[in-house]
């Protein structure tokens, strides 16, 4: 490591995760610098979601390590996690959900913080609707708001585009672009190659529990990327 390099926000080395006799992740190395917007591509079952769960410290690695070199403690609070599941209470309103989680995080002004995020996520009108009645797009944005309550340094997004219609996707893309402009560090899992390329600063392709390709966004040729992806994953 040269002296000019910034210290990584997150460094993953030799990460392996087994579920019983199934190996979901095998010997993954990855380091994320502050301000990186990393898009992770890969077919279903490649271990992408497992990787995010491990980074969020919702499960323990079988081998290897996940470190947040700058963090005081284990780094759990460095992370905001948006999962497949909503992590929201359907019988609470969007506002109540945010206030509840803000209180758990010990945020000083939970009500103000909740309102602020609802505004940012364009959910102000739906403030007092039950989260269970939200459309997929609204729910997706509320999920991201929930994950951002405590201003985490690293945002983990697990397929935020899943189940969104065109309108919802466009809103989400706008939001993600905004996050990128704010220089936030993001790990994004997506099946949407185009959107992923547009947003990211770095690209990772995973297959069968391993990282099979990695590159800086600028080194990737946009037109040839789809065929590159299929060659990597099938080859």
């Amino acid at each position: 490591m040269s002296s000019t390099q910034v210290a990584p926000l997150l460094s993953i080395s030799g990460l392996t995760k087994r579920f019983g006799v199934v190996t979901a992740l095998w010997n993954v190395d990855l380091s994320i610098l502050p301000g990186d917007f990393v898009a992770i591509f890969g077919p279903n079952g490649a271990g992408k979601s497992t990787l995010l769960q491990l980074v969020a410290q919702l499960s323990k690695p079988s081998e290897g390590s996940i470190e947040f070199p700058e963090a005081a403690d284990s780094g759990r609070e460095e992370v905001g996690y948006v999962s497949h599941m909503s992590l929201l209470y359907n019988d609470l309103t969007g506002f109540e959900n945010l206030v509840f989680f803000a209180r758990l995080y010990g945020i000083e002004k939970p009500v103000e913080r909740a309102n602020e995020l609802l505004e940012k996520m364009n959910l102000k009108q739906a403030r007092n609707q039950f989260a269970g009645s939200y459309s997929s797009g609204m729910k997706q944005r509320l999920k991201i708001a929930r994950a951002m309550l405590h201003e985490p340094r690293l945002l983990l997004l697990d397929e935020p585009y899943a189940g969104l219609d065109q309108h919802g996707s466009r809103l989400l893309t706008g939001l993600l672009k905004q996050l990128r402009e704010e220089q936030r560090t993001v790990l994004l899992i997506t099946h949407n190659l185009g959107e992923g390329l547009d947003l990211s600063s770095r690209i990772v392709i995973m297959n069968r529990g391993q990282v099979v390709y990695r590159a800086a966004r600028d080194d990737v040729d946009e037109t040839g990327f789809e065929s590159l992806y299929f060659r990597t994953v099938e080859g």
């Binding site: 087994r18 019983g20 006799v21 199934v22 010997n27 391993q210």
Partner: protein, 246 residues
Amino acid sequence: MQQSATKYPELATAAKWLRAAWWLEIPLLLAFLVALWGAFVYAPTERVMGEVQRIFYFHVGSAAVAFFAFFIVFIAGILYLVRRNVVWDQLAATSVEVGVVFTTIVLTTGPIWAKPVWNTWFPWGDPRVMTTLVLWLIYMAYLILRSSLPEGDKKYKFCAVFGIIGFIDVPIVWMSIRWWRTIHPVVITSEGANLEPRMSQALLMAIAACMLSLAVLTLLRGAMRLNQLVVDRMAQDVIDSKRSVA
């Protein structure tokens, strides 16, 4: 070989257990012969109950061993939660299996004895019988829990937790059943606290024999479990090693 010994430390443990079981097999055989002789020849025939009372020795021996096995489950559970070494979990699981076998022996030899003596198959009044029955229920529940969870640390943790809660329940079960029965008229008095010396000697022989069989069964079954675990992991490692280099 050296490498697999460090990569699969459970192999060494299993080998150790197998060796220990091997050393105990001859003593076990001798102890059982002595205990059978003690129960059927050496001990005098009970005056009131007759020959059927001779089942008492192995009945009580099995009960003592079952309690001890469940105590191992408790200790091994705590050790697993603290150390996270899968060997403790496998020891706990094995002890439950063996303990349930011995509890089942207690609950089946009991009626054989109870029917001719007290004219009832199942003496609901006896606190020991009741406590054994509840123990059987608790540890059957343990086995059901175990079989319904997927392999992995989570399963081992949950089983350890249940083993611990189950065991701290035992004294409460015992107290409650004893009070229950002292309040209601006790039809069946406990079977003579003052045993004839030769009877108590025969009982000691039976307990020793049962303890040895607990040890041997646990070691053999535990080694089998550990080996199975290692074989599964080896198979996975072979699959892993065939992956293309990243």
